[in-house]
């Protein structure tokens, strides 16, 4: 009987040898997280991924599975972020026709806004004495998650810290847009959508589609262009600033 008990105790470690516990856990909590999100009536301030991540963290503690082991197993899933990033080309290509009608405002706003999003946060963090790793983790915070993971790995940030900052940014930017729209008297759905996509990535895009289809289309476009611009320019900028703030 005690032998059986010992074996049950060792189950968590045994199952961590194969990736399937981690994969099953990730997908299960995804469904539960989404379900809870619906039950809470889709709060903007709490994206489903946060609920799911809390459930995974709780399960890991309960099963006494090490986070590093979980991550190793879940790596079999996260490797799909590669083709999933390429897949983002499809919505981008579908929305790109908006550029033809509005190429001037869009092609000026994206580089300026995407650059300033990085500069504002990195400068504030630097001023308050953040380490290079923290600044590198904050820099891609306005970019959609799959692209931001690629950027963070290139510039030497912490993916976990970046993900936390990215989600908080998405939620806050969405709230700030709701606050500023009436104060600045913005009544153009294209502007609201675009601002949501540029600053609040997927979280803002979901919100924009709640406003209208036009807002959603402009949010997708803003998100895609900001992602592409930041992904190309930020790693090169960090490389050029090689001896600068990012390397202490």
């Amino acid at each position: 009987m005690t032998e059986l008990f010992d074996r049950v105790q060792g189950l968590g470690a045994h199952l961590s040898d194969s990736p399937f516990l981690a994969i099953a856990l990730t997908i299960t909590t995804y469904f539960f997280g989404t379900r809870i999100f619906e039950k809470l009536e889709r709060p903007v301030w709490c994206p489903p991924v946060v609920l799911s991540a809390l459930l995974v963290a709780g399960a890991l503690v309960l099963l006494s599975v090490d986070y590093v082991d979980y991550q190793k197993g879940a790596g079999w899933l996260t490797v799909l972020l590669g083709p999933a990033t390429v897949a983002l080309a499809v919505p981008l290509a579908q929305q790109i026709h908006h550029i033809r009608a509005l190429w001037r405002p869009i092609l000026i706003t994206v580089p300026v806004a995407a650059t300033l999003a990085v500069v504002y946060s990195v400068a504030l963090a630097w001023w308050l004495g953040a380490t290079p790793e923290v600044m590198a983790s904050l820099a891609p915070k306005s970019v959609t998650a799959p692209i931001a993971i690629g950027i963070t790995e290139q510039i030497g940030g912490s993916v976990a810290l970046m993900m936390g900052g990215l989600l908080i940014t998405g939620v806050m930017a969405t709230l700030f847009v709701d606050l500023l729209v009436p104060r600045l008297g913005v009544d153009d759905e294209r502007i609201i959508g675009f601002v949501l996509g540029v600053n609040a990535h997927a979280i803002g895009t979901v919100r924009a589609f709640e406003i209208s289809h036009t807002a959603g289309a402009f949010a997708s476009l803003g998100m895609g262009l900001t992602g592409v611009f930041t992904a190309i320019c930020l790693p090169f900028a960090v490389e050029f600033l090689g001896g600068g703030i990012f390397n202490g």
């Binding site: 509005l102 706003t109 153009d188 675009f194 090169f236």
Partner: protein, 120 residues
């Protein structure tokens, strides 16, 4: 589905090769995405259907793919002790500033007359 997955994978491999050979600091997935966007713009309708279906599948499970990374937030421990003020200020005020800038910029640049063109 399989044909679409193959196209995605081929663009990913091309992107990865470019990134490595040119020694660019840009990840292969992003280069693959840019190349596929350009390719899709040259395709008229039918050719993009397979890749469209596969992409839809991937985009619908994106949350599952980023979830393991988000879990890491709860296991940071004391790794960034003493940095949280900087992180908090950068997130709150950095985001507020960039939302305001983007909005003002778009309002200044987007002529109201284009409204009609857009509706066509």
């Amino acid at each position: 589905m399989l044909r679409g997955f193959l196209i995605l994978t081929i663009f990913l491999v091309i992107g990865e090769s470019l990134s490595f050979v040119l020694d660019w600091p840009v990840s292969g997935g992003i280069l693959g995405m840019i190349l596929m966007t350009l390719w899709l713009l040259t395709q008229s309708g039918a050719a993009g259907t397979d890749v469209g279906a596969a992409s839809q599948q991937f985009i619908s499970i994106l949350v599952v793919l980023i979830l393991p990374g988000v879990v890491g937030v709860f296991f940071l421990g004391g790794q960034f002790d003493g940095q949280w003020l900087a992180v908090g200020v950068a997130l709150v005020f950095g985001t507020l500033a960039s939302v305001a800038t983007t909005m003002v910029l778009m309002m200044a640049l987007l002529p109201k007359t284009l409204e009609k063109e857009q509706r066509d």
